[in-house]
């Protein structure tokens, strides 16, 4: 009996990265803009999607993949708006992985413009998993506090866009949106920052326009 040491140098996330690359390629070829929404539980991801569905109505078609540990509730809320939605229940897992999204992808109608993926509410683990999205948005709601970018840098570092939500509560809370944005920008320069109240609709036009511009860029690059 003898022992030998062998060099492996294998990325543990390689399988996920390959699955994500396949999803990205497929969605690009179909001309669909995929957006991955990350945040803590309760920061307003589903409400944001409900509000966007109203903005896109009759002009753009969207579909939603919902990730949650349990229940169909979020998918039901989205379907109630007339939007096709698929619920992935992870049964305890703290994040979505690309292969879970890949399984649903075949059912997503070809004739849509936007595919939103609402990740499991968690500001830590989902940051490590590419789902094949074009845009990764991190939501930070005012009740969570403006110190979150510094405390959870991985999520902000991996994002393209920061959405400060529940702006209607700003006057009532010790939340400084400028500080939250500055801290996030210190981690990720170039991050696009939006401030919205999805309940009241404030700031939603600018956010919708950002997604529409990104869709146009995706399609002109693929044309």
């Amino acid at each position: 009996m003898s022992t030998k040491t062998i060099s492996v140098v294998r990325d543990l996330l390689a399988t996920n990265k390959q699955a994500a690359a396949a999803i990205r390629q497929e969605l690009r070829s179909r001309g669909i803009l995929c957006v991955n929404l990350l945040s803590s539980p309760g920061s307003g991801k589903t409400t944001l999607l409900e509000s966007l569905s109203g903005r896109f109505k009759d002009r753009y078609r969207m579909a939603v993949i919902e990730g949650d540990i349990e229940t169909e509730r979020d998918a039901e809320r989205i379907r109630a708006k007339g939007i096709p939605a698929w619920q992935i229940t992870t049964g305890g897992a703290c994040h979505l992985e690309a292969k879970m999204v890949g399984k649903v992808l075949g059912e997503v109608p070809a004739a849509i413009d936007f595919l939103f993926i609402e990740n499991v509410g968690n500001l830590v683990c989902p940051a490590s998993y590419d789902l094949g999205e074009e845009i990764r948005c991190v939501l930070l709601s005012s009740p969570e506090g403006d110190d979150k970018p510094a405390k959870y840098p991985q999520a902000f570092l991996s994002a393209d866009c920061l959405i400060l939500t529940k702006s209607d509560l700003f006057p009532h809370l010790p939340f400084d949106p400028a500080k939250a944005a500055a801290e996030a920008l210190a981690i990720k320069p170039g991050l696009r920052v939006f401030t919205v109240s999805a309940l009241r609709g404030e700031g939603m036009d600018a956010l919708a326009a950002y997604f529409v511009e990104a869709l146009a860029r995706l399609r002109s690059a693929g044309a």
């Binding site: 140098v9 990325d11 990720k188």
Partner: protein
């Protein structure tokens, strides 16, 4: 807390390598884990110890090499090791920083018994 699912990926690699080299047992596993990889080394070790029971790595020792965040500045070419979440260049203050190391999750090498 996704350490257990990462450990499952480690075992896929261990089984593949053991088969490739005709080894009966894995005795040592060395992982490189970046500070910014989003995992906790202690939890990886606990997950590894739970997972290994009844496998070819039952008696294996896991070593986690923690990799600090190393940045490179495209403006002045300065490299630095960062211990905080300040992603500006220590030399010239530029904010266009690239993270060269510190986000990896890699099975670096393993020791097999043949």
């Amino acid at each position: 807390m996704h350490e257990l699912s990462l450990v499952a990926s480690v075992f896929d690699i261990l089984e593949e390598k053991a088969r490739e080299h005709g080894a009966a047992r894995v005795v040592r596993v060395v992982l490189k884990v970046g500070v910014m990889a989003g995992v906790v080394p202690d939890l990886l070790e606990s997950a590894f110890d739970i997972y290994k029971k009844g496998t070819l790595a039952e008696g294996a020792r896991l070593e986690v090499v923690v990799v600090p965040v190393r940045t490179r500045c495209p403006d002045c070419d300065g490299e630095a090791v960062r211990e905080d979440a300040d992603f500006s260049c220590a030399a010239c203050g530029s904010r266009r920083i690239e993270i060269v190391e510190g986000r990896e999750l890699i099975v670096e090498r393993i020791e097999l018994e043949t």
